[in-house]
């Protein structure tokens, strides 16, 4: 475990040097996208993985962030950075507004209520033409500037995304390993017991919703300034499902898992491109296979393999039936 900071540091150095060796715009675009999605998935991880609250509206929050950023920069002529701040703030605020009525819901009810919210949000994006320009989307979103530099290439933008991913991962890790994280974890495992031990479950669940909204808002804003064009169909229910699958594939309560899941599933469609239109079908089948054979996600799989090789470590316990998700066995998950 003491090697862990070194491993993280080495990984960051490798990631930081990547654009020096990779010159393909195509690969860099994908890496940017993977990083942006990773932020949204980490946000979902705080809500579902840490707290056990299902949301199928993460893409809608991404949309709110993207459109806020686009509106402030193209309509009001704000610089990118305050617009990005506004995007995060508004998404967090909507997270609060959605989280509050959802407090008394859990499980399927929560999943459905969030789907309903996502559909309403998308209909608003399509029909509120004066702000969103309807189905045509918004074009001409400016790239961000740092002093004299404009982050106008995918290579330069990569550093912004990388920095954002690192900050978000750090924040998520701090949340997970401190008092708030333990409270969220307690709520996930058994909300009634958590309340009985004096945890203000209402407050912590709202915190989780707000954080998930803020993460998605940041991701949406980064996406808008990266590809400079947004339209409502990128923020659909299907995209929310993709975020959920990324999280579950990685390992739902692990930050590393969220990163790995986002990276793999952003690359997978590109790898499957030779299959042409059947790739999404394969993707659906893969989701079923994954959930049947790999309940703890990739991170759980690696932990299980490692446990098998280190004979002193006892084999990992299975998640108890009825636990709020494939998340379980916290001692086996790397942060």
């Amino acid at each position: 475990m003491s090697r862990k900071p070194l491993v993280v540091l080495a990984l960051v150095v490798v990631l930081a040097l990547l654009p020096v060796f990779v010159h393909s715009d195509y690969v860099l675009t994908l890496l940017d996208l993977a990083g942006i999605y990773a932020i949204a998935v980490m946000g979902l991880g705080i809500l579902l993985g840490f707290t056990g609250q299902m949301s199928l509206a993460q893409a809608a929050f991404l949309g709110i962030g993207a459109y806020t950023s686009a509106w402030f920069t193209t309509h009001l002529g704000w610089p990118v950075w305050p617009a990005m701040g506004a995007a995060v703030a508004l998404s967090a605020l909507v997270g609060l507004a959605v989280g509050y009525p959802c407090l008394r819901l859990s499980g399927h009810y929560l999943a459905l209520a969030t789907i309903g919210f996502g559909i309403i949000a998308q209909l608003v994006l399509i029909n509120w033409k004066s702000v969103t320009n309807g189905s045509d989307g918004v074009t001409g979103i400016p790239p961000p500037q740092i002093g004299p530099w404009t982050l106008d290439t995918y290579g330069k933008y990569y550093y912004l995304v990388l920095a954002a991913v690192l900050v978000c991962a750090y924040v998520a890790w701090r949340i997970k390993t401190t008092r708030v994280g333990r409270a969220l974890h307690a709520i996930r495992e058994n909300e009634i017991a958590a309340r009985a031990t004096g945890i203000d479950a209402t407050r912590y669940k709202i915190i989780a919703f707000v954080l998930a909204g803020a993460y998605a808002g940041l991701a949406g804003s980064l996406l808008a300034h990266d590809i400079k064009f947004i339209s409502p169909d990128s923020y659909s229910f299907d995209q929310s499902v993709v975020f959920l699958v990324m999280l579950i594939l990685g390992g739902s309560s692990s930050i590393t898992g969220a990163l790995v899941g986002a990276l793999l599933l952003t690359m997978l469609p590109e790898v499957l491109r030779p299959l042409k239109s059947s790739y999404i079908m394969v993707y659906g089948a893969a989701v079923i296979a994954m959930i049947v054979f790999m309940p703890q996600g990739l991170v759980g799989l690696f932990a299980a393999l490692r446990a098998r090789f280190e004979t002193r470590t006892p084999p990992r316990a299975q998640a108890p039936a009825g636990s709020p998700g494939p998340a379980g066995a916290p001692e086996a998950e790397p942060a």
């Binding site: 299902m54 009525p101 959802c102 008394r104 819901l105 859990s106 499980g107 399927h108 009810y109 999943a111 459905l112 209520a113 789907i115 309903g116 919210f117 559909i119 309403i120 209909l123 399509i126 029909n127 058994n190 009634i192 017991a193 229910f237 299907d238 499902v241 959920l244 699958v245 579950i248 239109s277 059947s278 999404i280 079908m281 993707y283 659906g284 089948a285 893969a286 989701v287 079923i288 959930i291 049947v292 309940p295 998640a319 039936a321 009825g322 636990s323 709020p324 998700g325 494939p326």
Partner: protein, 305 residues
């Protein structure tokens, strides 16, 4: 808002028709939920998939994998064929998407049903292409005159078939051993198993029954819209909303919720806004969740410790 009684009556009939479809699909949700405690997010594909199979055999020519096939069969043969195929589909679905995960809580099952949904939608697109297909109607006229009203015969058929199915279900659940076993399984699986009910078989039958309800809704609704890979998704989400509005787990609630959402949506789409018509069901849903989470006919919503 002008109050034209004829127009309002026509809206009411269309609303009841689409509401009947929501009610049938909602029943499918509720039966599976009661039997196994999970929500099937592929319920919409139980509507979409049989509709595609039906059009393949109803039309003189259909493109399957890009080649034209001429498999036209008589209407009743097609309906029988589709129903038989969907029995197999329900069994297979239970075997693949639910059975391996039955002891692992609700989230893995939800995700695997989402996986099935993604798979089937795209399998449908791959097989039948992305162009919407029109399912031929059983009727030669679009509307018939009933007094001063002009009503689509398809709407009347939908309402009639739904009424018959609801009566059948009532008979099944109240009067037959199978129905009583299904109710016992829904109420308490462990005790049901203790008194000798073969719970696994009852669960499989429930999936089949739910697939058949979806199939019938698909065959009924497809002539009104078109057959597309997306046709089931929104119907299923609204049906799910309907079952919560009615009180989740309650069969009369699912029927009442479905009819209510169909009617309110149709009037709302006409008088308020046709662009936001698909939002109406979810606005009602969120309102119900906020103010009366147990729904119209609901029991308690609180989760057990």
């Amino acid at each position: 808002m002008h109050l034209d009684p004829v127009a309002n009556m026509q809206l009411l009939v269309s609303g009841l028709a689409i509401g009947s479809i929501y009610a049938l699909v909602a029943l499918g949700f509720v039966l599976i939920y009661n039997a196994v405690g999970v929500v099937n997010f592929a319920q919409g594909e139980f509507v979409m998939f049989p509709s595609y199979i039906a059009v393949t055999f109803l039309l003189p020519a259909t493109a399957v994998f890009g080649t034209l096939v001429h498999w036209q069969l008589p209407v009743l043969v097609v309906y029988a064929l589709v129903l038989v195929l969907m029995v197999g589909f329900g069994l297979l679905f239970n075997r693949i998407a639910y059975h391996p995960l039955r002891d692992r809580g609700w989230l893995p099952v939800v995700i695997s049903t989402i996986g099935v949904s993604i798979f089937l939608r795209n399998a449908a697109q791959l097989t039948w292409g992305s162009q919407p297909i029109v399912m031929p109607s059983l009727f030669t006229v679009d509307t018939i005159a009933v007094g001063p009203l002009h009503i689509r015969p398809q709407d009347l058929l939908i309402i009639g078939v739904t009424a018959v199915l609801i009566a059948f279900q009532y008979f099944l659940f109240e009067r037959t051993t199978l129905g009583k076993q299904m109710r016992a399984t829904a109420q308490d699986r462990t005790t049901a198993r203790l008194i000798g009910i073969r719970v696994g078989r009852i669960v499989a039958i429930t999936f089949v029954y739910s697939a058949l309800l979806g199939t019938i809704s698909g065959l009924l609704v497809a002539p009104l819209f078109t057959v597309t890979k997306e046709m089931g998704g929104l119907i299923a989400l609204k049906a799910f909303a309907a079952s919560i509005v009615g009180g989740f787990g309650s069969i009369p609630g699912a029927i009442a919720g479905g009819l209510a959402i169909g009617v309110i949506e149709t009037f709302g789409g006409f008088y308020i806004s046709s662009s936001y018509v698909d939002a109406i069901a979810f606005i009602i849903l969120i309102g119900v969740l906020l103010f009366k989470p147990s729904g119209l006919f609901g029991e308690r919503v609180a989760e057990k410790a």
